[in-house]
Symmetry: C2
DNA sequence: TATTTATAATTGTATGACAAAATGAAATTT
DNA sequence: AAATTTCATTTTGTCATACAATTATAAATA
């Protein structure tokens, strides 16, 4: 006998249907960033659902950072893609250290390539500042500078879709940092300098190579400690 | 006079606070994937909020694919990071074609690098199958095969955090595909073959180079048409 | 033992009411 | 006349309660 027990994938609750409808409207361009939605009272009549159901859907949209609501002010479609949803999603995998590091590698390798195409002189200057600062630290406590370096590169890629994610991953960066027992600032400086040199030359392939080299080193360093746990 | 009108960033509604609390519990490991949450009745007393508020938070968690709910069955913390939230977020940027393409480039460049480290013989074989299939298409309608090629590579990187995203981006891939007016299967086959060759050789840098070369071609092809719009 | 049937627990939905906040207009003061 | 204050109204935020729908579990039956 054949058993059927589907239901899953996404159970069709009313609030889910309303949510899907909103996303569909966005995809088809009927709703545009910046648009103001009708008040909840109107919306619940339009969708023919109760207010709690509608509000569950709106709440989800707000969590996804697709809309922004203000008491009395109304509900608006956001302009840019957000980062915090990704951060929340990441919370699930937070303890899977290798996966998180690899995810970070994936993004950074792609980002540095795009950065090489687009980075500005000002951003390069800021990168160099972090390198100098790391070289001058005395207590080996340059985690924040290190993250800043990577953040500037992500920013240089200047992509609204991906840039949100990197913030979240750098937060986990901070977490994985704590797994590093000893630091080698000279190596970090050497690697970072090589990356900047490639970026200066606007050489995507070279920038990638140096970043890959660097991240391999970082990954091994973190995972080596991780094993012992 | 100094004006203050903060409020934003994230307005602290009750449901938002509950949501944040759940995420915090996840980050700190007090909640683990697979865990079953208490029934809503208990939760509302624990958080001291009304049921609609609690349900708004749970609804958001479900939208983020952090939990899964079943009538009468209860609420469970998911095991893996989901993809559909990202899809929803992408809906916002769907009309920003260059940004979406670049996002796809970012991910794929990183993924192909990791794939070179980890891809299995079986996956390589499947990649080769898609190449043969594309070479044999007569009507130039090989969009699905093309996407399958990229999907297998993403799968080969075998990263639970990133793999979800690529699905969403490949959906937009489908959308951007429609912007291509004419196809050049011979070029696609040549590029794909070069990528597979690098993957076979387990050469991350070479795999990256070939993928970058390929995606540059794809990007130009799409954007060239986009300009005329 | 296996199957079917009830029971009860739990999520899903609806209604109604009120609180809180803030916008915009009206009234007041300077 | 202009600026400020006050107030009414709209809209989101929250609560309480009730009932429907679903299904896991236990009980009853074959």
């Amino acid at each position: 006998m054949v058993e059927f027990k589907i239901d899953s994938v996404t159970r069709n609750t009313l609030s889910r249907q309303v949510l899907e409808k909103f996303i569909q409207l966005l995809m088809e361009g009927d709703l545009q960033p910046g648009d103001k939605l009708p008040p909840e009272m109107d919306l619940m009549h339009m969708f023919d659902v109760s207010r709690p159901v509608l509000r569950e859907a709106l709440s989800s949209l707000e969590t996804l950072e697709i809309v922004k609501r203000r008491p009395r002010g109304g509900t608006y479609i956001n302009e840019k893609i957000g980062s915090s949803p990704f951060r929340a999603m990441l919370a699930l995998s937070i303890n899977n250290v290798p996966a998180v590091i690899e995810a970070r590698m994936t993004l950074e390798l792609g980002l540095v390539t795009l950065a090489a195409e687009k980075i500005s002189e000002d951003q390069i200057a800021r990168l160099e500042e972090t390198i100098v600062a790391i070289a001058n630290t005395v207590d080996d406590d340059y985690g924040a500078l290190d993250r800043e370096f990577h953040r500037i590169i992500a920013e240089s890629a200047n992509n609204p879709v991906v840039s949100g994610m990197i913030d979240s991953l750098l937060i986990t960066h901070q977490k994985t940092d704590s797994l590093i027992t000893f630091r080698e600032p000279d190596i970090t400086v050497r690697h970072h300098s090589a990356i900047v040199k490639a970026l200066k030359g606007r050489d995507p392939v070279e920038a990638f190579k140096e970043m890959y080299n660097h991240l391999q080193y970082v990954r091994e360093k973190i995972l080596a400690n991780q094993k012992g746990v």
